[in-house]
Amino acid sequence: MPSISGTAFGIATLVKALLFFTLLMLGVMLATIVERKIAGFIQDRSGPNRVGPWGILQVIADGIKNIIKEETMPREAIEPFFLLAPALAIIPGTVLFAIIPFASPLPTRWGLVEMIVADVPIGFLYVLAIASIGVYGVAMGGWASGSKYSLLGGLRGSAQMISYEVALALSLVPLILLAGDLRAPEIVSMQQTFTAGPPTYAVWFIAPLLLGTFLFFVSGLAETNRLPFDLPEAEAELITGYHTEYSAMKFSMFMIGEFAHVITTAALVTVFFLGGWDIPLWRGDNIRVLADGSVIGDPTWWKTVLTAGMFAAKTGVVVVLFMWIRWTLPRFRYDQLMDLGWKFMLEAVTVYILVIAGTILGIESVGIEVGPLYAGILFAVNLVLAALVIFVMDRGTLIKGAAHGARHDARIAAHGVPRLAAAADEGREG
């Protein structure tokens, strides 16, 4: 069956865009209720359960409440930007979803429809470009509010997101080395048939790129401003940071943006590392549309439905992992956050690229073909690297700041109280 083309292609893309947007928003609604349920369960509470069965209608109640609530406009706010910021907060999370292959191609009367809104040839670069835009909503919201708390939150947010973007981008480079293609559907089909010859076993890239998955996930947490990286919100210091001054639906839009970003990041983890819509141990779903439009495999509508379900399940697991982490870990101190980003993640990911590139070069020069053995060697290398990284992180000198305290104490023991503090003490006494 040929791929869909012409006017039908345009219509199909429109329908897909609408469908995906609706699904994403439904996902956001579901994510808010699941988040609150998980928060409740982790704290031995039962979470929202009064509105509808299992509290599922709580989101609708909240939506209605947010729409009919009073919108406030602070006197000091800069109006056009204040209104624009919540919209900008939603955009990156939703637009990023365009390059995510959601299910296997669907055969229709007019041709084969790939279940992806925009199959851009530079999918990977698109991810990086759009992820960078995410900072605008936060920074603009913080600045336009005309409040110091908001401004600080916005500044923190921009500094954090820019810092972790580097690690986010670089952590995907080994993936590109392995997949040999920037297109998301190609990355999925590469994971389904990890071989040069006839299809054998699916190799999800989480195995040959275990550490890369971890680094991408951590940077993703930082990019979405979720705990333990929610410094821009930091209730204890900044009230709620960049959305302090926002009320009603504008606040809600920031929340929708955050959840959309979480879902999209989870979907990216799924596509890049968890095999996308691949159903494990089943080769029937190995359907691949080549660049010239020819199709390998046998697409049917029920396979599309099954793979879509599989994709949703995998994404759901990652989203739950996000939430589980959120309700477990405390927030980083700001210097720890920056240390982790610049002094650890960046170095780790750079070394990781070098090691993986070297390993791939070594394997291929020895003459091992792409396949289980190839992946196995990479997995072994990853295990060693992961053990190393975990050892370094666990030393506590990096994140905890205890070493800084110890050094500080040693300095005081050796040289006495630093001059500035001593002067302040004298001033107080006098």
Binding site: I42, W327, M393, G396, A406
Partner: protein
């Protein structure tokens, strides 16, 4: 503030894994501590001091003799009493209002009442949409049906 801690005791990954384990255990724990309030309610103590109620005679008149002790003893002045006399020369309360919003539920009015007319009650669900509705007049006080608060018994100090 930086907590002093020897460098070798520091851990992040192990501590995180441990924490994740703990939260997972709670996540899967089916025994939730939440009390489903409107459906399940607390068992209230017989000595709980809540909404007032006025005791009535068999013919429906309030037992209050408008002696004026309760507004006098009330530490927050939440009781308004205007006494009157009927044709037999018996005193009764022409106006008797308690502002439940202002009341601190100390129970002095119940203790001081010579005819055991005003009582506090074992009842706490009295939310209203306006402050005016919190001022209970005599009629409303007489209509209350919840059990009255038991006074502290010196021979049974723990109320067992």
């Amino acid at each position: 503030m930086i907590v002093e801690r020897p460098e070798h005791e520091g851990s992040y990954v192990r501590a995180t894994a441990k924490g994740m384990g703990i939260t997972l255990r709670h996540l899967l724990n089916p025994n939730k501590k939440t009390q489903q309030y409107p459906d399940e309610k607390w068992e209230l103590s017989a000595r709980l001091r809540g909404t007032h109620r006025m005791a009535v005679h068999e013919d429906g008149r309030a037992k209050c003799v408008a002696c004026g002790l309760c507004p006098t003893v009330c530490p927050v002045n939440c009781i308004k009493l205007v006494p009157a006399e009927d044709e037999n020369g018996e005193r009764y309360a022409a106006i008797y209002e308690i502002d439940e919003f202002r009341c601190i539920f100390c129970g002095y009015c119940q203790e001081v009442c010579p005819v055991e007319a005003i009582h506090l009650g074992v009842h706490y669900e009295n939310s209203e949409y306006s402050r005016e509705r919190w001022v209970y007049d005599l009629e409303r006080l007489c209509e209350q049906e919840h059990p009255v608060t038991a006074l502290w018994d010196p021979s049974d100090p723990a109320s067992e």
